[in-house]
Amino acid sequence: MMRKILTALALASLPFATLAADAVAQTEKQATNWHAIIMFCIFVTMTMGITYWAASRTKSTADFYTAGGGITGFQNGLAIAGDYMSAATLLGLTAMVYTQGYDGYIYMLAFFAGWPIILFLMAERLRNLGKFTFSDITAYRLDQGKVRTMAAISSLTVVCFYLIAQMVGAGQLIKLLFGLEYNVAIFAVGILMMVYVTFGGMVATTWVQIIKACMLLTGGTLVMILAMSQFGFSYSTLLEKAMSVHKLGPKLMYPGSLLADPVTAISLGLGLMFGTAGLPHILMRFFTVTDAKEARKSVLYASGFVAYFFNVIFLMGLCGILIVGQNPDFFEGGTVGGKLIGGGNMVAMHLAKAVGGNMLLGFLAAVAFATILAVVSGLALAGASAISHDLYARVIKKGTASEAAEIRVSKIATICLGFVAIVLGILFEKQNIAFMVGLAFGVAAAANFPVLILSMYWRGLTTRGALFGGYGGLVSAVLFVLFSKSVWVDVLGNKAALFPYTQPALFAMPIAFLLAYVFSKTDSSVRAGKEIEAFEDQYVRAQTGYGASGAASH
């Protein structure tokens, strides 16, 4: 049971594929936690105030999608870090260090290592070529209608799978932390998200994310410092004691079972690194700043916060082994080593309570709820912009839609996505959400990333190549996950998996690249020739930023 809940929640936003085998189990409803609810209400009041303020400043499409490009590098860095550090990071990774020791730390590095690569190879060109969505870049010199439709479909696929995972995780988590009913929690998250996004657009979404990131960093640091003070701030003392009581003993700091298989390890590394570079809500954040200079700074700040926070979590998990793992109060029936109250993911929460009482517990619980809300809002905005900016304004209206009409469509799209998220969250309550996160990252890495990077780096890419590469990556990533053990065996009940690995990236990415290459090379149409020629101008703009959309002057 403990392991199942751990799996369910850890997977809420992280592709912990090796833990994917278990189905989501019902979590038990806890007593209503008033400290947490009051603190969460303060957060909601504050962010609603910001949304009200943001609504008066959200008039043009640029305001709505990208906050008018007026976010500074530092603010945007916090917001990116916020998008990246979900509740699952705090709870799931702490729990992972608590149970698996060093393996949790390996995962954290894998999540982190994508950021420098994004900066060195992508951030610059993304900012210089894009306007509102990453489809702006893939469709820059290719057929607008077809390529945008493809990019919007894969964006929406990623957003939907990620949303389901977040919503189901949110419902389970809130039930645990706040003692609310699952459906009530799902509705609360869905409706609050709709309000933030429809009224405040990107301005409000960004500020919600910034506030939450600050809360998360403060809360985590506070718990870590209070916990470490019990060991005289000595890593050696902490580790010595932890090893003496942990069931892994001296093996606590050895790589364990999670990454034993080389193919899984490499595929996971690829999926996390390049999946991050293909997530539409993260890519969108490159367009909220004034220029490439600020875009670079955003990544610097974001990766700094993420790296710092991962190390805090590592220490929290280790402290938890002693402070939580040795205290009978936190175990059901009071037996140390039995089942943790509320499930395995509660390590961080129990730790907060042990070192800071009910106030700190309430604060951390409120942070976790705020985190889910903020991540869901970012996702909804990314999905809505794919519908309104790409599909409605560019494909259906072919660029003739007025700004007001485009904003109206994106608001309607947000509300629809909100209801879709609520319905899916309720439908999938008892489902294994693992494969959806796997899908989200797999599709992002296999469908979005190859076409995006080729369109920026390879002059030979044509519309035909982009379409085959994009759809090929999408379909193969979906099929690989469908045929893997976590879906084919665990969900569909078949005997043996058709595809032996849980991580699709290592296989689906090469397929996407190969298809894009072959079908571009063999494309001898007149239009293909023109598209290849158009690369020259695109290349100069990508390098210099000349002609790139500036702040608030679209």
Binding site: L109, F120, A260, I266, G269, R296, K297, L300, A307, Y539
Partner: protein
């Protein structure tokens, strides 16, 4: 009109220099990160025991933790180094290229 601007920038030797220098710089840093990270992943996969050893006799700090902590810090320092050079040296070159293209325009 903007196509003519792009044409002038492209033929500017400074543009070629910018692209070559920044490209070399970015790819070098990216290669360092990729080699270190995937080297680490392969060590996890093929020689996990080596990561559990203490860095020195009697120390509680293990090789694996030390290496990872180093990578967290080192990758971030590389990021900072890239941002610093890109935001000063390369941005200055870019501005010059755009300015020169404008001048020719007149």
């Amino acid at each position: 009109m903007s196509s003519a601007m792009y044409e002038r920038m492209r033929t500017n030797p400074k543009f070629r220099e910018l692209v070559a220098r920044r490209g070399r710089f970015a790819w070098t840093l990216a290669a360092i990160v990729l080699v270190m990270f995937y080297g680490f992943v392969l060590t996890v996969a093929f020689n996990p025991a080596s990561l559990g050893q203490p860095v020195a006799e009697g120390s509680m700090l293990t090789v694996g933790v030390a290496v990872e902590l180093f990578m967290f810090i080192f990758f971030w320092v590389l990021t900072a180094y890239y941002v610093k050079r890109a935001n000063s040296e390369f941005d200055l070159m870019t501005q010059e290229i755009v300015k020169e293209a404008w001048k020719e325009n007149k």
